[in-house]
C-alpha cells in the first residue's frame, strides 16, 4: 500500500506557495476576498480548514503557536488543531498570548493587545458579508467590485425599524481601508474595535468557501452604522467573577439548577494572567445582570 509521507506543517510546498500568493494579494487589497484552491485537510470543512491552511503556509520552525476557540486554549477543537501542528510541524506551542508569534483563533480576538511581531489567523465560516442578503456569488462579487454597499445599509435600516437597534451582535460588518466591506468572522461585535489600527497582521481563511482576506497592520477598520445610530460596543454590567476585569468579554456560566449564573472572562489566558498578578474577582454569589 502507498503509505503517505507528510511535509513540514502537512501541506506540500507547491500548495504553500499558492496560499502565500493569495495572502500577498489579500494584503495588497485590504478586505478583498481572494479566491484560492482550498485543499482537503484531515479535519472537516467548517472546522477550521481555512485557518489551518493559512497557518500551515506561514508557519516556520522558529514560530511559537497559540490556538484558541471561543477565547479558550482548552476547548476541544483548539486542542485538536494545536496537536495537529505539534505533530506535523513540531513547533513550540503556548497558551500565553504575549509569547506567541502566530495565533490561530475561532470567534474571538485576544484581550491582550497584539504587537507587530505577531500574526492573528482567523477561522472564517462564511466570508461574504452579503451572503444572507444576496445568495448569488456572481452578484456579490459585482457589488464589491463596484463598491455598491447600499444593500448592507438596507439591512441595518430594517433592524432599526423593526427592533429599534441594529440587531447584528456578531460577524458585524466592517469597512476596511475605506474601501471594502468585510465580514470579520463570527467574533462578537465587542471585538470589532480591536481590528482597527492593530499592530499585528490579521489574516482570514475560509477553507470551504475558498477565500482568503487580510487586514495589514495599522489599517483603518470601521464598523458600519448610521450617524444617528452609531456603533456601540456591547457592555457587560459586572466584572469577571474570577479576576475582576471589567473590560473583557465574559462567558455566562450556569452554576446550579436554580438558574444561578456567573460571568467569567472568555479569554482564559487573559484571566489567568490577571489572577497570577494578584487581581481577584468577587466569585459566585453576587448579583449579575447584562445590559
Amino acid at each position: 500500500m502507498n503509505a503517505p509521507v507528510y511535509n513540514f506543517a502537512y501541506l506540500d510546498e507547491q500548495t504553500k506557495r499558492m496560499i502565500r500568493r493569495a495572502i500577498l494579494k489579500a494584503i495588497a487589497i485590504p478586505g478583498y476576498q481572494v479566491p484560492f484552491a482550498s485543499r482537503e485537510m484531515p479535519m472537516p470543512y467548517g472546522w477550521g480548514t481555512g485557518g489551518v491552511q493559512v497557518t500551515a503556509a506561514i508557519l516556520g520552525s522558529d514560530d511559537t503557536l497559540k490556538v484558541i476557540d471561543q477565547g479558550s486554549d482548552d476547548t476541544t477543537n483548539a486542542i485538536s488543531i494545536r496537536k495537529f501542528f505539534e505533530k506535523t510541524a513540531g513547533v513550540k506551542t503556548t497558551t500565553v498570548t504575549s509569547d506567541a508569534t502566530v495565533i490561530q483563533t475561532r470567534h474571538r480576538i485576544p484581550e491582550t493587545a497584539l504587537n507587530d511581531n505577531q500574526v492573528l489567523v482567523y477561522q472564517v465560516p462564511i466570508p461574504e458579508p452579503f451572503r444572507f442578503l444576496e445568495p448569488r456569488e456572481t452578484e456579490t462579487r459585482r457589488m464589491h467590485a463596484l463598491g455598491e454597499y447600499g444593500l448592507m445599509h438596507v439591512k441595518l435600516y430594517e433592524d432599526i425599524a423593526r427592533h429599534g437597534h441594529i440587531a447584528t451582535t456578531y460577524a458585524y460588518p466592517v469597512k476596511v481601508n475605506d474601501r471594502y466591506v468585510m465580514d470579520p468572522s463570527p467574533t462578537p461585535k465587542f471585538d470589532n474595535p480591536k481590528m482597527d489600527d492593530c499592530a499585528a497582521l490579521q489574516l482570514f481563511g475560509a477553507g470551504r468557501e475558498k477565500r482568503i482576506y487580510a487586514i495589514p497592520p495599522h489599517t483603518r477598520v470601521t464598523s458600519l452604522d448610521f450617524e444617528d445610530h452609531p456603533f456601540e460596543t456591547y457592555r457587560f454590567d459586572a466584572p469577571c467573577a474570577l479576576c475582576g476585569s471589567n473590560t473583557s468579554y465574559l462567558d455566562e456560566v450556569v452554576v446550579n439548577d436554580k438558574g444561578g449564573r456567573m460571568f467569567v472572562c472568555s479569554d482564559t489566558d487573559y484571566c489567568e494572567t490577571r489572577r497570577a498578578d494578584g487581581h481577584q474577582g468577587a466569585g459566585f454569589g453576587a448579583d449579575y445582570q447584562v445590559t
Partner: protein, 260 residues
C-alpha cells in the same frame, strides 16, 4: 438649471434582430427634458424590445443611444463602463416595471425600499432617510403608518405607487415605464395615472412609456410613436395622432378603443 433646447436622449437607427427575425427596425427619435413619449402597439410590435434597448438592458444589433448626463456632456450609452451605467440607473434614471414585484424588494419594508437608493449614494443618517421615505409615501398617497410594512402586504395599486416612489427619490430626469397600469383594476388605474401625471408635471420628468392602451397614451403623453412589426409606422403629437390618424393601422387601433 435645465437646458431645454438640448435633447436629453437621442436614439439613432436602433435595430434588433434575433437570427432572421427583426424585432426592431431602424428606430430614431429625440427626447427633450420634461417630455413624455408614449410608444404604443400591440404585443409583438417590438415596443418592449425598444424600451429594453433604450434603457441599456438589451444590446442593439445596430444603432446608438446617447444621453445627456448631469454634467451636460452627451455620452454614447454603449461606451459607458458598467459602474457608470449602474450608477446612472440608480440615480438619474427610473424604471417602472409592469409587475411591481420586479422593481421592489418585496420582503423589505416600504421605508427601506424608498431609502435604498439614498443609502446607495451615501446617505448615512437613519432619521433623515426615514423622513425622506415618509414624505415620498405621502406624495404617492400611501398611508405613512405603512412605512414599516413590506410590500408583500400591499395591494397591487399600492405596490405600484411604492415602486414609483422608490424610483423618484433620487430626482431622476428620465423615467422608463413598461405598462405601469397593466394588471390593475380600472379605477385603480385611473388613480395611478392621475398621480403619475401630477408627479411628471411637478418634477419636470422626461418619460418614455410603453403601453398597448391608447387611453394611457392620451392621458400622459405629449408625443406618441405607433409601432407595428418592429417599425415605427406613425409618430407625432399625441392629440393629433389620436384625433386624426393617418396610417390605416393607427386608424384601426384608435377605432378599437371602446368608449368609456
Amino acid at each position: 438649471m435645465r437646458d431645454d433646447d438640448q435633447p436629453l436622449l437621442i436614439c439613432e437607427g436602433l435595430s434588433k434582430s434575433y437570427g432572421r427575425q427583426l424585432a426592431c427596425q431602424n428606430i430614431s427619435f429625440q427626447l427633450y427634458p420634461g417630455e413624455v413619449l408614449a410608444i404604443v402597439g400591440e404585443s409583438g410590435s417590438g415596443k418592449s424590445t425598444l424600451l429594453q434597448m433604450l434603457s441599456t438592458q438589451l444590446a442593439p444589433s445596430k444603432g446608438r443611444v446617447s444621453y445627456r448626463m448631469r454634467d451636460g456632456v452627451t455620452r454614447d450609452l454603449a461606451m459607458l463602463g458598467e459602474a457608470e451605467r449602474r450608477f446612472l440607473f440608480r440615480t438619474d434614471w427610473g424604471y417602472v416595471h409592469q409587475d411591481p414585484a420586479m422593481g421592489l424588494r418585496m420582503a423589505v419594508s416600504a421605508g427601506a425600499n424608498v431609502g435604498e437608493r439614498l443609502m446607495a449614494v451615501g446617505w448615512g443618517h437613519y432619521g433623515r432617510i426615514r423622513d425622506t421615505s415618509t414624505s415620498w409615501l405621502e406624495r404617492v398617497e400611501i398611508s405613512t403608518d405603512r412605512i414599516d410594512d413590506a410590500p408583500k402586504t400591499y395591494s397591487g395599486g399600492m405596490r405600484q405607487r411604492l415602486q414609483i416612489a422608490r424610483n423618484l427619490v433620487t430626482k431622476p430626469r428620465l423615467v422608463f415605464m413598461d405598462e405601469p397600469t397593466g394588471g390593475l383594476d380600472v379605477s385603480v388605474q385611473a388613480r395611478l395615472l392621475d398621480l403619475v401625471r401630477g408627479l411628471v408635471n411637478e418634477l419636470g420628468l422626461a418619460v418614455i412609456i410603453v403601453t398597448h392602451d391608447l387611453a394611457v397614451a392620451r392621458l400622459l403623453s405629449h408625443r406618441v410613436m405607433v409601432m407595428k412589426g418592429g417599425e415605427v409606422i406613425e409618430t407625432g403629437l399625441t392629440d393629433q395622432v389620436l384625433d386624426d390618424p393617418h396610417e390605416p393601422y393607427t386608424q384601426l387601433l384608435v377605432s378599437s378603443i371602446l368608449p368609456a
